[in-house]
Symmetry: C2
Subunit: 135 residues, 2 copies
């Protein structure tokens, strides 16, 4: 039990590292190559207002438009619930997206999400990513 | 391997039974007590346009308003991907909601969803349920 808890704690640290990478590289810097370190090769993204996006190439092509259309400047991800599930982890979380549309004051868009995490190449990555807006 | 496949097949049948129950009892008949057989006691629902809804009582109170506001008459759920995850199952699916707002012709709203399934009291139920619209 103590060992399982220690193991989960180390997974949580690895998850935080991936979430931080998504913010600093993908959203803040627009380094979309970093998506390969965030999503597994067989990942699926389920964005509001559009069809499902499946696989590494499609995900790379999808994100520049999403970030641009939201005028997203950064995103803060925080776990609400973490459920170990076999060799994966199911996470429920809250996302606060800081947006700055042209000519408008910056504001925060509140989203909630579910991510199914799997390990790939020694990293914890997003295998499924689905979200929606709180309002 | 053959045994694991047979086991997954039986889980899929149980999942279909729960999905059918959700449609026929909850959406078509408005029998919201049946939600207890669809969602686990500790389930969380993440609906678009609102905050997370947690637990049996809150879920029972949430659904009548959702069905009424959507003018939902029925829903067809179909699995797109099923991923075994420990003692649970992660499902990606498509939902076609038939709606009939007053004074309008019936139409279909296309949604996509992720459900994390767990067993409770011998039934397969929704532990997490998150969805959004395709357009």
């Amino acid at each position: 039990m103590a060992s399982a808890q220690a193991s989960l704690d180390s997974v949580k640290l690895a998850m935080k590292a991936t979430n931080d990478l998504f913010n600093t590289e993908v959203v803040v810097k627009g380094n979309f190559a970093a998506l390969d370190d965030v999503y597994t090769a067989d990942a699926c993204v389920l964005p509001p207002g559009g069809p499902m996006v499946s696989g590494r190439q499609a995900i790379r092509e999808f994100f520049p438009g999403l970030v641009a259309s939201m005028h997203a400047k950064s995103v803060a991800l925080s776990s609400v619930e973490i459920i170990p599930a076999g060799d994966g982890v199911v996470e429920v979380g809250a996302a606060e997206v800081t947006v700055e549309p042209p000519g408008q004051a910056g504001s925060v868009v509140h989203c909630k999400y579910v991510v199914f995490w799997r390990q790939e190449d020694g990293r914890w990555k997003w295998r499924l990513d689905v979200w929606n807006m709180n309002a």
